[in-house]
Amino acid sequence: MAMEQNEQEEFLSNVRKALGVNPIQKRDKPDIFKEFKDKNPDKTLETINNRTVDEKKALLEILIKEADSLNLNIIPIKDFKTAAKKIAALAEEKEPEWGEKKQIIAWKHPLVEKLDLNSILEVLKAPIPVCFTDLAHEKKIGRKQNDTIRMQMIHSYIGVTSADYCLAETATLVMKTRPGQARSVSLLPLIHIAVIRINQIIKNLKELYTILVYKQDEKEEGLTNCMTFISGPSKTADIEGVMVHGAHGPREVYIYVITDE
């Protein structure tokens, strides 16, 4: 640690010298962090909070339009029960990527639980098991348990998550990492399904950053150690500029937007 500190001090004094300020004096200017901040965050937050039903529907329309060019599927649906049926149909239709066995991995999350996927998928003619990235109340995950979940993730062809927000103008899902909400669920499986409520849709990045910085509970939680933005399926254009979906991450992404409940 001492060496790290020395190294840092030397490095930063070099930077100060280059900037033409006193190299050995640590500069302290807390206001530089305020320079480009939203001057009226309360107003932005109020706008977001007070959106009428019509305004929310308009955002949903923008989202659908934006998603279209990204090869991202947005499915507005009135309740969880219907959504669950649709997801089950999708699971029956799609084939697994590696191996024969169909298996689904899902977040331990209130909205995902509301779908109650197990009750539909397990009574199918060919039942499809659903595993949850659940820690079973243990504070510290033992290596064993962790490995089991990892194997389940690797062998699942569908991953089901929710999200914190969805940005209409860029068709972006925003998700922080929390216990039970593993990062790999939206990454390893061939198909990613996200379930959100319509009021989780906000306008754009600007609104998101205002929420993250100024909304009390978000501020307290911080970004967590991994906050991810997902805009559409994984893609590449590295071979002659030809767009191909499913480079490393999911090839298909479906967002079910619950409109009524």
């Binding site: 070099n14 280059a18 970004l223 150690n225 490393h248």
Partner: protein, 474 residues
């Protein structure tokens, strides 16, 4: 990768004669160059948003010491480690120590130009480690034993046919030139690598000082894999890639994505800060951030060039540059090609050594218009030429040879004196008749002027003078 800007002329010549490359470059510029300009126009705030982005970036650079200090404090608070490396070797050494400490055997890497700059892969391989590039373009380039030729599209110089043969040879699949099938083959091969790697290495697009996170951007998802699956994650960042607070990203990301690929936003963005907590299922157990100077503080200290540190490496300038469009990325002999490379490579590796890079650009200004940060690249290209002409001790630049200076002195005298100038014109007008061919152009001039006719024919000096012409108009 090996830094060899001295080979510019030879490699450029080869590139110009390579018809496959010429097609690929034309296609790339056609696709991305125009789309970017359009996407700026379509911004709700209009193209002037670039000026605001410039302000944000400059502000960060002017307060770099404070921001870097805050970033380091915050990353450590989140449980990560931070190293500051004065040069490439120090950064490589830190990385090697980390691999030893954690008993690392296999590494997966996301695309990162700064690791190319410091020659990280070679050092890791020498230490007996398996290093796999996971960005599809980088993977292709690595399999072929080449270096990237574009910041965003590293394998742009290869055709699907060549990639098909490469994969048939190296991955043992049957030959195909179908991009989706080839992509699937890489997906399968690389998935195994991701799952068995003990360490992931990534770059950093832009760190956030206030929160202590690095933001990494990709479309393929390979950087998410590299930073989620292996037990250790090491991120490398050039010291200038930082911003003060979260709100800054709104403008910067929108512009970065437009500049890079005419997208509204890249497919994946992750803010990463520290290792996983005990109650989380995935994420690395240890997180390291290595912040690199490697010649950047020297750029910072020079007001003529400080602005180039505002660059966010989006590659928009490559996609519009007429010179890059002809000679491709390899001629620049550095991970940084195109207009940005023509400025940054000389500043990092030697203004003398890389002289052809900034002398080769045309000064047309297309790069500045395409740049999401509105960086004055043409201005800096001129300053570099000036430094070379006049010499600069600070940058160890020797003056150009006396002969050239003498000629320019004489020329300056001539244009200021009408009599001498008229005499000169009449003389050259007379002399050129000996060199003018049937088609009325000059095919070859004698030494020392032969360079002008080496790769093109020159139009002779007009017999009618411009001034007399303008009189007639009047």
């Amino acid at each position: 990768m090996k830094i060899e800007p001295e080979l510019y002329k030879a490699k450029a010549k080869k590139a110009v004669n390579n018809s496959v490359l010429q097609n690929a470059l034309a296609g790339l510029q056609e696709r991305l160059g125009r789309g970017t300009a359009l996407s700026y126009q379509r911004l709700p705030e209009g193209p002037d948003l670039r000026l605001k982005a410039h302000d944000i970036r400059s502000h960060a650079i002017e307060h770099l010491d404070i921001l870097l200090g805050a970033l380091a404090d915050n990353v450590r608070q989140n449980g990560g480690h931070v190293f500051f490396a004065e040069d490439g070797q120090a950064a490589v050494n830190h990385c090697l120590e980390i691999t030893e400490k954690h008993n690392i055997k296999k590494i997966v890497k996301g695309k990162s130009m700064v690791t190319e700059e410091i020659g990280l892969n070679i050092a890791l391989e020498r230490a007996g480690l398996e290093v796999t590039e996971t960005d599809l373009g980088e993977y292709i380039v690595q399999l072929a034993g080449e270096t990237p030729s574009h910041i965003i599209a590293p394998a742009i110089h290869r055709t699907r046919h060549q990639i098909g043969e490469l994969f048939a040879d190296k991955l043992g699949i049957s030959y195909t030139d179908n991009p989706p099938i080839l992509t699937q083959a890489a997906r399968k091969a690389l998935r195994k690598k991701f799952l068995s790697a003990d360490m992931g290495i990534s770059g950093c697009n832009l760190a956030c000082a206030e929160t202590g996170h690095i933001a990494v951007v990709s479309n393929e998802g390979n950087i998410r894999m590299s930073s989620t699956l292996p037990r250790v994650h090491v991120a490398f960042m050039g010291m200038e890639r930082i911003t003060a607070c979260l709100e800054d990203y709104d403008i910067l990301f929108r512009l970065l994505s437009r500049g890079a690929a005419a997208q509204n936003i890249a497919g994946y963005v992750s803010y990463l800060g520290g290792p996983k907590t005990d109650d989380q299922i995935d994420g690395p157990e240890a997180f390291y951030l290595i912040i690199i100077d490697n010649g950047r503080s020297r750029i910072l200290a020079d007001n003529d060039f400080r602005e180039i540190l505002c660059c966010i490496r989006c590659a928009a300038c490559l996609n519009v540059c007429p010179v890059y469009g002809k000679i491709g990325g390899h001629a620049y002999g550095s991970p940084y090609s195109g207009p940005i490379g023509a400025v940054v490579t000389p500043l990092l590796f030697g203004i003398n050594q890389a002289k052809d890079l900034y002398c080769g650009e045309t000064l047309c200004g297309a790069c500045k218009d395409a740049c999401p940060i509105n960086i004055d690249i043409p201005g800096m290209l001129i300053t570099l030429r000036k430094k070379r002409a006049e010499g600069d001790r600070k940058w160890n630049v020797k003056r150009t040879n006396i002969m050239e200076r003498m000629i320019f002195k004489i020329w300056a005298l001539a244009v200021k004196n009408k009599k001498i100038y008229d005499f000169f014109l009449r003389m050259t007008g007379f002399l050129q008749t000996f060199f003018t061919g049937h088609d009325g152009t000059i095919h070859r001039l004698p030494f020392p002027f032969s360079g002008w006719t080496k790769s093109r024919n020159m139009r002779p000096i007009s017999s009618k003078r411009f001034i007399s012409g303008s009189k007639n108009i009047r």
